[in-house]
Amino acid sequence: MLKTITLIWNYLRIGIANELQYRVNFFIQLLQSFIALGTGLIGLWLVFSHTTTLAGWTQPELLAVMGVYILVGGIIQSAIQPNMQRLMDEIQSGTLDFALTKPVDGQILVSIREFRFWQLTDVLVGSVVLTIAVIQLQEQFGPLQALSFAVALLLGGIMVYCFWLMLTTTAFWLIRIWELVNLFQGLYAAGRWPVSIYPNWLRLGLTFLVPVAFAVTVPAQALTNRLTSTTLPGALGVTILLMLLSRFIWKLGVRGYSGASA
């Protein structure tokens, strides 16, 4: 366990040192975060120039959703996506061997190698937006809400990781999965709005197929006092299920893996 943590810390260190080389990237990344934020705000403003609520969510509540969306997006872009991209590339080019022959559990290794430090600007921006939204809400917001929010966020994050891992692992069999990845990245964009607005069939897909609902809407529900007594325990259950499932599929993939070249 300690070894794993030290390993994570080392990769983090290298990742940060790498990124610090490109000092301008920080400002570029920050700028990009602001542009994305601006676009989102314009979208929200446009919606609310035509109506006062959207499927029961008020403007500050939707702002909270957007804040969570950006924050989770930042976590995905800095820690999850780079690792999955690299895994996919290495499966396709047959260079995954290097990772699999190290004396560290393969799944852990491929999940922690990359870290894009500058993408954390989204986490920063998202947090600021969240804070503003919560202040505007003027609802009851105490330690209970904060805690349930943190838990929801953590579970959602783990679910997204498991989902991505499973998706990337299909590269062991399908090889070319770039378009599949593209498709699901597009689906994540649906998380910008609370999933309750989508037709039922789409909502189901966005909850259990691509855990967007758990990643964004549920934490937002935690912030806006919309959680029912079953939401968080349900989320925990799905998280554990996904962790077991992704681990199983990973092992299956590795067992059949032989490298792309003869």
């Binding site: 676009t39 035509h50 109506t51 959207l54 498709l183």
Partner: protein
């Protein structure tokens, strides 16, 4: 002139042959593209039903028509991205293009044009599916259909030029992703990609008129699904032509200076 004709046809043929081999991947890509307008459609339809049946004059049926036609227009205006230019330059592929006695952009335009032929064929069943689910209301005149068919190619060329200019900037500096994202964001708002331009406040619409973006999305879509008269249709085509010519001019200037710069540093 005849040689360029020949080149375009040959290049398109190659694109069609290659991309047809990749039809599975192309299908997946297209399905991915559809997610975006579906989200917009759902959001605005929700608002329409909440506001008593329509928002800004668009019923859910009209919105469905807008966003389904959107998917075809979107396929048509996918072009070589500025990021693609950056990648091509960094990996030395631009050098291979530079050795040909022909401007690389001819290859891009002709190859993508051929690719679009394949995409249009693949799109038809998807559109049919979408129509079944979302039930669009559509009733265009013959002139509208013809102008639409021309306008989608016009949209393709306008957008090619915009992103070629952006992409060529990477010949000077690679730190331009923020600029790209800014332009993408502007395009999202001002082109009719996010919502029909008529749902935007008046002052935004006036600004958008002087920019090239709405001629790549809103104009072609609206030509087919809106209530547009002949004068508006033809003057719209004229605007597209104007932007294409402006674009070609800028691309030529930027290219001239860009190649000199590239040859100083090279890859």
């Amino acid at each position: 002139m005849k040689r360029y004709n020949d080149f375009y046809l040959t290049s398109m043929k190659i694109a069609i042959l290659e991309q047809f081999q990749y039809r599975a991947q192309n299908y997946f890509y297209m399905v991915g593209v559809i997610v975006e307008p579906t989200i917009y459609l759902v959001v605005w339809s929700t608002i329409a039903s909440q506001q008593g049946g329509s928002v800004g004059g668009y019923t859910p049926g009209a919105l469905a028509a807008y966003y389904i036609v959107w998917t075809l227009v979107r396929q048509m205006n996918i072009v070589f991205t500025p990021y693609g230019w950056e990648d091509r330059i960094q990996h030395g592929r631009l050098s291979m293009e530079l050795l040909r006695p022909m401007h690389p952009i001819h290859y891009d335009v002709s190859y993508f044009a051929g690719w679009k032929v394949v995409m249009i064929l693949l799109w038809i069943p998807i559109a049919a599916g979408l129509a079944l689910i979302f039930k669009p209301t559509l009733d265009p005149t013959w002139l509208q259909v013809i102008v639409f068919l021309v306008a989608i190619w016009g949209a393709y060329l306008v957008r090619t030029m915009i992103y070629a200019v952006l992409g060529l900037i990477t010949l000077w500096t690679t730190r331009v992703s923020a600029l790209f994202e800014l332009i993408f964001a502007l395009e999202l708002i001002l082109s009719g990609r996010f919502v029909p331009m008529t749902l935007m406040p008046g002052w935004v619409q006036r600004i958008a008129f002087y920019l090239p973006f709405q001629w790549t999305f809103f104009f072609p879509i609206n030509a087919l699904v809106g209530k547009v008269g002949p004068v508006e249709l033809l003057s719209g085509l004229g605007m597209q032509l104007l932007w294409i010519l402006i674009g070609v001019g800028i691309v030529n200037i930027v290219w001239h200076f860009g190649v000199r710069r590239f040859s100083a540093v090279g890859n």
